[in-house]
Symmetry: C2
Subunit: 341 residues, 2 copies
DNA sequence: GTGAAAGCGCTAACAC
DNA sequence: GTGTTAGCGCTTTCAC
């Protein structure tokens, strides 16, 4: 090391640095943490030494001592449709915004994807791992009850999903039932009367959208909404949509798709079957993902404000972390009229 | 606590549990870690006690002691197009697969999105945080040199990106230059001669795709490839594409788009300008994202095997973690012919 | 303003 | 097979 380059890596901990600076470990800790009183010259010396050696305090040790990790866990339960649901566009977009928001607030993000069927204890395990200060669950999937169980005993938990009457856990999400109504009203306004709901009605969010559609059908005296269940993975969904279309050709003149992804696939299949949109069949999606603008014709859909959702999740979580009790946050859906209905 | 429910949370650490079980902390540690010799009855007793109290060893403490966290850092540098590039479909899909692979191998995933312009020290800071055993960088962005600097001194680092002659860091990625050739050859085969490259040529991967296109143009004696730079965010890109189209209408008969996302936007704009695809202009994308099948007409593109990429990244990282020296991994691109060229 | 010392919760080497 | 003990690297009283 005679070339004058700093010998990086030689400083393994705060004690090494303290020795170099000729002070005690405690002082180094104080200086690097940026708080408490430390003599300006001492601080500068320690900081320059740290920079020179590329030293940074070990966050695990710090976390252990402070009982705070500055890491937030984000978990995606893969309940209904096990594989690769994590690549679902909506959740991934939400995740992107969450990463932005958490970073801004000085937190790191620990991502975990779990299959509840294989690991019943997924939430508790994560919470008690000692690695995270709080948890954000993306999507209730079919795990509503398990989340409820845990929520009473663990404060810093916020969930993206659907709000249920009287639930205990703090949730952020769109008013799915209202969204379902809005979508269906639009279909009716565009001339549809025999309306189908495309998608699995199992997950809470989807069930609520379906219920909203049923509300409108009942109120307007339309025939009951026809459920056309599908999986979420594009491959299987396309096939299932084709089958539904073959089975119900001519019997429906409006489709409310549970997501834009499904709506887009549906549009492709409709074209394949020579069914014109919106003349013969009207179509409304849900989410307003970027793809909704690019379908042919562009997709009429119900917009969820993902950025606002992410902000809400992080904001509520931080407040709960600070000891506040928080209400759930319900975001208003917004109809975006394009060309399919 | 008279109702017989286990008093959860009362057991805060391994010592508490040891007291309850009438053994020493060391034995509890051994029993819960599942290794070393522990009497079967003792082990069962400890395990049932742990279950009853919902106790789980603190991973931070364990990590500190073992000098191993079982967490892999995944970092997405946002270099070229700062905001929201994290929601780029390709990266997010890769991230999903990475989460799957890492989970399978027993690792947790710590996600960090960084803006190198704001934080020159992003990689070093992450590595030295003490929170992760290794790092996967998703996308070299414009940070090739910084990654190179760090790579020599830090083994467990693997990068998704483009391979350069003689580079030091271990990279997994598609042969982008070859992909560019394949795409361009297809355009030519479909009748194009005046070819444009749509997208920023700054990022390494894109530069290589562009270079591949230039290879073919040179070899075949075509006019030079016309670069049509864009941003990656859909809003700005659409606008820029429209401007390019207006400026070069009639002067180009083939477009190689840097990504499927850009190709899809381009298709929309082409339609808007009344330019027929593939008759007047041929179009080839890159990635083979799900959207490529759903454009109208369906997109001819160059497929990257994202799942294989994720597997490669994790595999190489684990081997480097085990002390092996590994070569980079170059994946073959594959032409997927649909209807735009 | 700084040093000394205790300890966060865990694991592993060493006894027995 | 189990107990004891010494830290992992850091923060934070409590002295001075």
């Amino acid at each position: 090391m005679s070339d004058g380059k700093p010998e990086r890596g030689a400083v393994r901990n705060i004690t090494d640095l303290a020795r170099l600076a000729g002070v005690s470990p405690g002082t180094v800790s104080r200086a690097l943490a940026g708080k408490s009183l430390v003599n300006t010259k001492t601080r500068e010396k320690i900081e320059s030494l740290a920079r020179e050696h590329g030293f940074r305090p070990n966050q695990m040790a710090s976390g252990l001592r402070r009982q705070k990790t500055d890491v937030i866990g984000v978990v995606i339960p893969l309940g209904h449709d096990t594989r690769q649901q994590i690549s679902d566009s909506f959740f991934m977009t939400l995740l992107g915004y969450l990463a932005d928001e958490l970073t801004r607030e000085g937190y790191d993000l620990m991502l975990r994807r779990v299959v509840p069927e294989e690991d019943a204890d997924w939430l508790d395990r994560f919470i008690r791992s000692g690695m995270i200060d709080g948890v954000i669950v993306i999507g209730q999937s079919d795990q509503f009850d398990r989340i409820e169980e845990v929520a009473d005993g663990y404060r810093p938990l916020v969930v993206w999903g659907n709000r249920q009457e009287g639930q205990h856990h703090c949730v952020v999400g769109t008013d799915n039932r209202l969204g379902g109504r809005i979508a269906t009203e639009r279909l009716v306004a565009a001339g549809a009367r025999r309306i189908a709901f495309l998608g699995d009605t199992g997950p809470m969010e989807f069930a609520a959208r379906f219920a909203g559609a049923q509300d409108v059908a009942a109120r307007m005296g339309l025939p009951p909404i026809l459920p056309l269940p599908t999986h979420l993975s594009p491959d299987r969904a396309s096939e299932e949509i084709a089958q539904h279309l073959a089975a119900h050709a001519g019997a429906i003149d409006g489709i409310f798709a549970a997501t834009d992804t499904l709506a887009s696939l549906c549009l492709t299949e409709l074209r394949g079957h020579g069914i014109s949109v919106p003349d013969e069949v009207r179509l409304v999606g849900f989410d307003d993902l970027p793809i909704a603008r690019q379908t042919v014709p562009p997709l009429t859909t119900v917009r969820q404000d993902i950025a606002a959702g992410a902000r809400g999740l992080v904001d509520l979580l931080l407040r709960r972390l600070a000891g506040e009790t928080t209400e759930s946050m319900v975001l208003p859906p917004e109809l975006v009229i394009r060309a399919t209905a």
